[in-house]
């Protein structure tokens, strides 16, 4: 039940982000300055936290999606779907422990080329 609610919410959130993200990439073909201005708006603390939220949503949706697929096609996984939900949670925590510190490190970094 909760895994289903979370799967829905994260799916919708990722979809809306994807709409924005394709549009910001379209600016690549307008001019370098225009694109750098747009992508520059992602580089602040608020959207840095947003980036973590997005990665958290994607990681949950991906892991839980793989669980749904396993439960659908493999009878062992169907019988143990509750156990697999906790496996999803643990793997999600592991992924977060990998992503979040790196993302915090990159926040506010200035890269001169």
């Amino acid at each position: 039940m909760w895994s289903w609610v979370l799967h829905r919410i994260t799916g919708v959130a990722i979809f809306f982000f994807l709409l924005v993200h394709v549009l910001d990439s379209v600016v690549l073909n307008i001019s370098p300055d225009a694109y750098n201005a747009v992508i520059g708006t992602y580089k602040n603390t608020l959207l840095g936290i947003g980036e973590m939220g997005l990665v958290a949503a994607i990681c949950f949706h991906a892991l839980n999606g793989l669980r749904i697929i396993a439960v659908d096609i493999w009878s062992w996984a169907t019988r143990n779907q509750r156990l697999l939900f906790w496996v999803v949670i643990v793997l999600w925590l592991v992924l977060m422990a990998g992503f979040v510190p790196v993302q915090i490190m990159h926040m506010g970094q200035e890269v001169h080329k």
Binding site: F15, V26, I69
Partner: protein
């Protein structure tokens, strides 16, 4: 003895017309695209947000460098198509679950379809037409 008329028998052959089960193919698509998207999206997140300086290093020149290799153009193009169709089909499921009013249901689903088609066209144009070396003073070493 009275005879009873033969019961009505169908004129058409008994074999039912076979129709494509679109919901089944949608269900299969969600799973196949899901597995492929795990690879595509985590590769994308790693290269753009984790490796090097992450988001701090992403700018026009970063993308130009990445897309100098057609490998990444194919990668990003596949991700674009698979994710938008997967997400659009998932949003259709939600509309069918929650929008019971026939008109609202129809408007929302046409809206989703329109958004997905427009973004696939725009995104495909972006990833194929992008040609950094035609931009004057681009500062890119690989353009000479």
């Amino acid at each position: 003895m009275t005879t009873i008329d033969a019961p009505r028998s169908p004129q058409a052959p008994a074999r039912p017309k076979r129709r494509t089960n679109w919901e089944k193919w949608g269900w299969i698509y969600m799973r196949v695209s899901g597995v492929l998207l795990v690879i595509l999206i985590f590769g994308h997140l790693f290269v753009n947000l984790v490796a090097g300086h992450g988001i701090a290093a992403v700018d026009w020149a970063f993308v130009a460098g990445k897309w100098a290799n057609p490998f990444w153009r194919v990668w990003d193009g596949l991700m674009l198509w698979l994710a938008l169709i997967h997400g659009g089909n998932g949003m259709r499921t939600l509309v069918n679950d929650y929008a019971h009013n026939v008109t609202v249901n129809r408007v929302l689903k046409w809206g989703i379809l329109l958004a997905v088609v427009i973004l696939i066209v725009l995104g495909t144009y972006t990833v194929t037409a992008f040609d950094p070396c035609t931009v004057p003073n681009n500062g890119l070493s690989f353009c000479k």
